[in-house]
């Protein structure tokens, strides 16, 4: 019985790493180097005017640093989708952007209520968005697939009743 309860609250994990980049991602995560710049921004629940500010600030910073426009676009889309996800589906959270000289490592940490089935959430078109979210033109069920498409590495950790962690790595050079 005890095992069953433990299993019920065990965090589920999802990993996607672009093929050929597994070693580079593993090496980066293992090294735990201090980032050059850290941007942190709170993401309130269901406030779609505020959601997007973190991505916009990050985009402007990376543009000034001279990041290639195609890469910048991938970072902007992935971070905006992730920010909207926190605003649309959680009770609020934060976005932490760790900027390195060769990559961006973004972390989105919310305060729950968690994803019950991550694999299902990854299916294009699957959405649990409510009417308010849909009224704003979100809720197409393409947020996580868009993040996956634009990221070099995507890591999700969540469980129903728990916070969700979404981590994204995008390299500045191919």
């Amino acid at each position: 019985m005890q095992d069953f309860v433990a299993a019920k609250f065990e965090m589920a994990e999802y990993w996607h790493i672009n093929s050929g980049l597994e070693e580079r991602v593993k090496e980066f995560l293992a090294k735990k180097i201090e980032p050059d710049v850290v941007l942190q921004i709170d993401i309130p629940e269901k406030d779609f005017n505020i959601a997007g500010r973190g991505s916009s600030e990050l985009k402007n910073l990376l543009k000034r640093l001279g990041v290639d426009s195609d890469i910048l676009r991938r970072i902007a889309v992935a971070s905006y989708e992730a920010e909207i996800n926190v605003a649309a589906h959680s009770i609020g959270g934060k976005m932490i952007s760790n900027v390195y000289d060769d990559l961006i490592y973004m972390q989105f940490i919310d305060n729950g209520p968690g994803i019950s089935d991550i694999e299902q959430a990854m299916i294009p078109g699957y959405s649990t968005a409510d009417d308010l979210v849909r009224e704003f033109g979100f809720g197409a069920g393409l947020g996580l697939p868009n993040i996956k498409k634009n990221s070099d590495a995507l890591h999700i950790e969540s469980a129903l009743g728990s916070p969700t962690l979404v981590e994204i790595i995008i390299f500045f050079l191919k």
Partner: protein, 113 residues
């Protein structure tokens, strides 16, 4: 590729962001959609975005996706807050009385004479 100004003339469009000039802006096509994530997933930089959505988030979507101009169908016009944000981000907003189908059709014809 055509001049945005030629397209705006063809659809009798009004530039809601008069602080931004159409001069020198080239467009390669359009993406037609009212779902924001689909636009971010499939629109290409240099394409205009034809939509009826006119709330603030469309500016962020256009900016993140590299869309130079948003075309509002059926006479939709964004409010001042949206226009101000668009000018700040350098996104041109055009309003036309034509429905989406005709807006897309006219652009297709200009690109493929």
């Amino acid at each position: 590729m055509i001049n945005l100004s030629d397209y705006v003339t063809a659809i009798k469009g009004i530039n809601c962001t008069s602080a931004l000039s159409l001069e020198g802006v080239k467009i390669t096509g359009a993406y037609v959609c009212d779902m924001l994530s689909d636009v971010m997933g499939s629109a290409k930089p240099g394409q205009v975005w034809i939509t009826i959505m006119k709330h603030l988030n469309i500016i962020a979507v256009a900016s993140m996706t590299g869309i130079p101009a948003i075309i509002f169908a059926k006479g939709n016009e964004p409010d001042t807050a949206v226009i101000e944000k668009a000018i700040e981000e350098g996104i041109i907003l055009i309003s036309s009385k034509l429905p989406t189908f005709e807006l897309a059709g006219k652009l297709y014809k200009l690109l493929n004479p």
